[in-house]
């Protein structure tokens, strides 16, 4: 598989001079097209900073980020992002929230309505297109946010603790929906999480970070075929990976 994104010796320092805080340092990471990469670490390990660098929201103070999407195949279709909170705009209907990225790209919104409705149906949101976000439950709002992240077929899907504010059962539902969405359209995905089980269940590769400054401690390849069944969580191999990563995270 070709490499979509290359990070070379990336460092991010907040503030300047000696008082500055080094958030991440010496980061080398390759992300291949179609790969799902999980990033786990404790709070303060710089995993969110790393995701922001990948998203282009934070410029590294050292090192380089090489993005190949523009040259190879398909063209650059931008980034889809999903945060811990749905961040929906309360004055827009669900459908118009989902179409927001299209509007922001200046494309013809009408051409994407059918796709939005199809995504909504896949996410179990059929019939809610004219509802307002605040009329929906938390889990439904997060599904709307996922539709919005996917509407423009992003070349890179970035998830920042996307399910940590949901209850355990809703979270498992979201794992299934997310996996379906990723394999259906083969999204290259980076998932930042502090939930090791989530990382192991969803990722091809788990990047374990250690803190202050944030560095990549080790990468663990998860060999199970995707999409994975929720029942995998109860298998021994799965739990061996979880235990191994937990140990690598230290205490």
């Amino acid at each position: 598989m070709e490499t979509l994104l290359k990070l070379r010796d990336v460092e991010v320092r907040y503030g300047d001079g000696n008082g500055g805080l080094v958030a991440i340092s010496g980061i080398n990471l390759d992300i291949k097209r179609g790969e799902v990469v999980g990033i786990v670490g404790k709070s303060g390990s710089g995993k969110t900073t790393l995701l922001k660098v990948i998203a282009g929201l934070v410029k590294p103070t050292r090192g380089e980020v090489v993005y190949n999407g523009a040259q190879n195949g398909g063209g650059f279709r931008g980034i889809g992002m999903l945060f811990q909170t749905p961040l929906l705009l309360p004055w827009r209907t669900v459908l118009r929230n989902i179409l927001l990225p299209i509007e922001l790209r200046g494309e013809d919104v009408d051409r994407y309505v059918a796709r939005a409705l199809e995504l909504m149906e896949r996410m179990g949101l059929k019939g809610f297109e004219n509802s307002y976000p605040w009329e929906l439950s938390g889990g439904m709002q997060q599904r709307v946010a996922l539709c919005r992240a996917l509407i423009h077929r992003p070349s890179l899907l970035l998830l920042d603790e996307p399910f940590s504010s949901l209850d355990a059962i809703t979270r498992e539902d979201m794992w299934v929906l997310l996996q379906e969405a990723i394999s259906y359209e083969n999204y290259t995905t980076v998932l930042v999480t502090h939930d090791i089980r989530e990382a192991v269940l969803l990722s091809d590769r788990v990047v374990v970070m250690s803190g202050r400054p944030g560095r990549i401690k080790v990468e663990v390849t998860i060999p199970f075929r995707r999409p994975r069944d929720l029942g995998l969580q109860y298998s021994r191999e799965f739990n061996d990976y979880v235990a191994k990563i937990r140990e690598l995270l230290g205490d």
């Binding site: 922001k52 998203a55 282009g56 929201l57 931008g78 980034i79 992002m81 945060f83 909170t85 961040l87 705009l89 309360p90 004055w91 927001l100 990225p101 509007e103 922001l104 790209r105 307002y132 605040w134 970035l158």
Partner: protein, 252 residues
């Protein structure tokens, strides 16, 4: 039903106050020029109906025009100041400084420059109503949550897109509710200007009637001003709930 019960109890309380007032004035033999009884105020309103109405309309016209100018200008300025951090940092302190000037003190100057007509009244209403509309509107525009901002940037939004698609809709309910403050301020402004530099409007009527010790007429003006401000405030509330229904989601 609960609403009706509440409205009915408000009316009852008002009635009780009026009755107590009436009784007190009569029992204590308070002279009319000190405190007129409600019945005296009512008969004054009836007697001077046309005179009061034309002056009321005059005051309302000046206030409405002043408020409309304040609303338009505040909104436009908020957009500019929300768009450019550097302009905001330069201009906002100047505006705050200007806000520190008691606007009533400017009326004689306005009269000097523009005479005794409509202009100083509209301008005073505008000057007093402007700041209470600007501050909440601008604040709502510039306090977009960091995560939302980052998400929009990640989706490739430009600064003007953030402004048009997020900042302005987000500020709409704040802008509309600030118009309540703006409305009362504008009426205060035009009434002050009418007292200082006009021969028309309820402010003028209050000033001239109290100087003749015609206190019932002054009270009639006060009552009319209170009623019309209350009514207009209600109209604004209804508009708010229509235009920015999403902002009142807790009560839907």
């Amino acid at each position: 039903m609960a609403y009706r019960a509440r409205a009915a109890s408000s009316v009852l309380i008002l009635l009780a106050i009026c009755v107590a007032w009436e009784v007190a004035v009569r029992l204590l033999n308070i002279p009319q020029f000190v405190l007129p009884a409600p019945s005296a105020i009512a008969s004054t309103i009836a007697r001077y109906r046309d005179y009061l109405l034309s002056n009321l309309l005059d005051t309302m016209f000046a206030s409405a025009l002043g408020l409309a100018m304040a609303a338009t200008f505040s909104l436009a300025l908020s957009v500019v100041l929300a768009y450019s951090d550097s302009i905001r940092e330069a201009v906002y302190p100047i505006l705050s400084g200007f806000n520190a000037i008691p606007r009533a003190a400017l009326v004689p100057l306005l009269a000097l420059w523009f005479g005794l007509g409509m202009v100083p009244r509209v301008l005073t209403a505008f000057l007093i109503a402007f700041f209470p509309v600007l501050v909440p509107t601008l604040t709502a525009m510039v306090t977009i949550e960091k995560e939302l901002w980052e998400m929009l940037v990640a989706f490739g939004a430009s600064k003007s897109q953030v402004l048009v698609k997020v900042a302005i809709p987000r500020a709409t309910p704040y802008f509309l509710s600030s118009l309540h403050m703006g409305l009362t301020s504008a009426i205060v402004g035009s009434v002050i200007a009418e007292m200082v530099a006009s021969d028309r409007g309820l402010g003028y009527v209050i000033l001239s009637s109290t100087s003749r010790l015609d206190t019932p007429l002054a009270f009639s003006c006060l009552l009319l001003l209170a009623l019309i401000t209350f009514a207009l405030s209600k109209v604004l509330s209804l508009t708010e709930r229509r235009v920015a229904r999403w902002a009142y989601r807790a009560s839907i």
